[in-house]
């Protein structure tokens, strides 16, 4: 029997999920509840789980490099933030709010023109917050914060043209 403990970061917060595997027999403990079943890998790589109680779930699971697992399950396709504790720490501590002193440079992907600057120095932003809008190759590109942080410096103004690689803003720790 092998036991795995994973860290799951979901909409409800951070939790531990424990999986015990013994051959094809599996037991999952989550939120204090235990669910058992039998797991098989199908010939095309998908996983079929026959849960005690009769339900069957089947889908494709692909571990990714950054603490996430890509899941295709019925019509749902998405990423679940799930990893062993080491990879979870590697994926998240470098970017977590309050962690890391490094300043991150936000640069233009390609030459373009700044259409909009949505933040100002000193402003706190969440991961995914809109920082700037650039126009390049006839498309408008939204530049978003790769992580939560505080805007340290803004180098761009609406209307200016920028070269590929130009520094647009700097994001510091929260």
């Amino acid at each position: 029997m092998r036991r795995y403990v994973f860290v799951h970061r979901g909409p409800g917060g951070v939790e531990e999920i424990q999986v015990d595997l013994d051959g094809s027999r599996c037991v999952v403990v989550r939120g204090g509840r235990e669910e058992g079943g039998e797991m098989r890998r199908l010939s095309d790589g998908r996983v079929s789980v026959l849960l005690d109680g009769g339900r069957q779930i089947c889908g494709r699971v692909r571990p990714l490099r950054d603490g996430e697992v890509e899941v295709a399950f019925g019509a749902w396709r998405g990423r679940v933030a799930l990893a062993d504790p080491l990879h979870d720490r590697l994926a998240h501590d470098a970017f977590s709010a309050g962690g890391g002193d490094a300043e991150e440079e936000i640069r233009a992907l390609m030459p373009g023109r700044v259409l909009e600057v949505a933040v100002e120095p000193g402003q706190a932003v969440e991961a995914g917050a809109l920082l700037l809008v650039l126009e390049a190759m006839k498309m408008q590109n939204e530049i978003r914060a790769p992580r939560a942080g505080r805007v340290a410096r803004v180098e761009a103004r609406p209307g200016i043209a920028v070269d590929g690689g130009a520094l647009l803003a700097t994001l510091g720790p929260v």
Binding site: R62, F73, V80, H87
Partner: protein, 496 residues
């Protein structure tokens, strides 16, 4: 008898299938990027026509004619895109003693000029969008038109088509800059910088009519298609019939389409595109003198094989069925599967298809140009193929679409499948109350927001991860089946 398809991907496969049904031998042409492609593997003959860039291969008239000569080809089908609406190519085929499967070169030419075709339509009594009849010599002419017709206007490339080379202008202030941009875009895309202007019809629907021209001048309308679901002027989802067209409007659209085709002595399959305004008025947009990407929805509803019909018209002058006796049955919907990452601004997503699981069952059809293991090259349009569903009515077609999408899997490249999954559940799609800007409004409004993970998907993730020994792939391409482009796209997406 041999037929050469001057094309690649799903349309080459499609036409080869029609040839097989008719007992005609198939000749494929391929660039260096396509030696392993499905259309080559299924052909009786195949000729390499050049390196990957289209201009040196699929657009090379000499290379294609040489391939035809070397293989004893009799018929040439251009598919869509590439040389399909190139009158010089059609003419060159004729001059070389080949049978071009399509309309006469003069018909292609007449409809190839957007301004020329508008003048023809006015003469034929087909309503056209108020617009300039000749390209503008300068911005002043455009301003004068805008003053008379009223803003907003649409600047269009005279030599353009397929939704490319267009720009909306709302005021005199934006006009000169827009004119310069459209002109230069047109010059680089179509080799001709001529620009004209049309009144912009707000919130129109795009409705097109399939026409079939036979020798002797008989032209039949074979139903209409609704193609309003577009992104950046490119069709994404099409259906037949149009849920917005009642019998009276349908009759008028068919009459106009037939008149348009007759005005250019049209033979073979073609499509007349219209804009239908919210008030029910309709206007000629353009005529596509070729087989369209979305022809399968017409085939499913009308029970015809349009590719085979084109071949038989090219050989004998008439379609293999009585076009006037054809009748529609049920409803069909098509989704264009592109190798574009719907979740990252539809960025092109070339790479290798590791897994391809196609749905099946009643009412499900696939016109695919790739297989599991195919590499999607960066050199061409990233369309992988089409999913087409058919049902007794639109409701059943939509249910079958949802079912098919839930079974559909492509792993290795990102595609537009998430867009179709979101659309198939969207109330606006269900009610069919859309116009050509509807999809862009819905996208801006969060159509593609991911549903929260369910307990079952988390359970599966945990079990799947444990089952692979909790192993996280090593850094670098060897340990992971994820494409390099995917990694680049993810990094870049954080930068916008």
């Amino acid at each position: 008898m041999r037929l050469l398809v001057a094309n690649r991907g799903e349309i080459a496969v499609r036409i080869f299938r029609a040839c097989r049904d008719l007992g005609i031998e198939t000749v494929a042409v391929f660039s260096d990027a396509d030696r392993d492609a499905p259309h080559v593997a299924m052909a009786d003959y195949a000729v390499r026509i050049g390196p990957a860039p289209a201009v040196e291969s699929y657009l090379s008239i000499p290379a294609i004619l040489d391939a035809a000569r070397r293989t004893g080809t009799k018929l040439v089908h251009p598919g869509y895109g590439f040389l399909a609406e190139n009158a010089a190519f059609a003419r060159a085929c004729g001059d070389a003693g080949l049978v071009f499967v399509g309309p006469k070169p003069e018909s292609i030419e007449a409809m190839g000029s957007k301004t020329g075709s508008r003048r023809l339509m006015e003469k034929a009594g087909v309503p056209v969008v108020p617009g300039m009849l000749r390209p503008a010599a300068d911005a002043a002419e455009l301003k004068a038109f805008a003053k008379a017709a009223g803003y907003p206007i649409l600047l269009k490339a005279s030599a353009g088509g397929g939704g490319k080379g267009m720009r909306r202008v709302d005021s005199d202030a934006d006009l000169e800059a827009a004119f310069a941009r459209v002109s230069s875009e047109a010059r680089s895309a179509f080799g001709d910088g001529a620009v004209y202007a049309e009144k912009l019809i707000e919130r129109p629907r795009h409705v097109e009519v399939q026409v079939l021209g036979e020798s002797g001048g008989r032209v039949t309308a074979l139903g209409e298609r609704e193609c309003s679901i577009q992104r950046r002027h490119q069709k994404v989802v099409e259906e037949c019939p149009s849920p917005a067209v009642g019998d009276a409007l349908r009759g008028r659209l068919f009459d106009a389409a037939v008149a348009a085709a007759r005005a250019v002595d049209y033979v073979s399959c073609g499509t007349v595109e219209f804009l239908v305004a919210p008030d029910g008025a309709f206007y000629f947009l353009e005529m596509n003198t070729r087989l369209q990407v979305e022809h399968p929805v017409t085939e499913e509803v009308w029970g015809v094989d349009l590719a085979a019909a084109m071949i038989q018209i090219a050989l004998g002058g008439s379609a293999p069925f009585d076009a006037t006796a054809a009748a529609p049955r049920g409803h069909a919907i098509e989704c264009r599967i592109y190798a574009e990452d719907a979740r990252r601004g539809f960025a092109p997503a070339p790479g290798r298809i590791d897994v391809l699981r196609l749905p099946a069952g009643p009412g499900v059809r696939h016109d695919m140009g790739v297989e599991a293991g195919s590499i999607v090259p960066i050199d061409y349009d990233p369309m992988l193929g089409k999913l087409v569903v058919h049902g007794a009515d639109r409701g059943q077609a939509r249910a079958r679409l949802s079912r098919a999408l839930s079974e559909y899997e492509i792993v290795g490249v990102e595609t537009t499948l998430p867009l179709f999954r979101a659309l198939s559940e969207d109330p606006g799609f269900a009610s069919a109350e859309f116009d050509v800007q509807w999809l862009e409004r819905r996208l801006a409004d969060g159509l593609l927001a991911v549903d929260a993970e369910s307990d079952d998907s988390v359970l599966l993730a945990a079990l799947g991860l444990a089952g692979s020994n909790g192993a996280t792939p090593a850094a670098g391409p060897t340990g992971s089946t994820r494409s390099l482009w995917g990694d680049v796209a993810k990094r870049e997406s954080l930068r916008g």
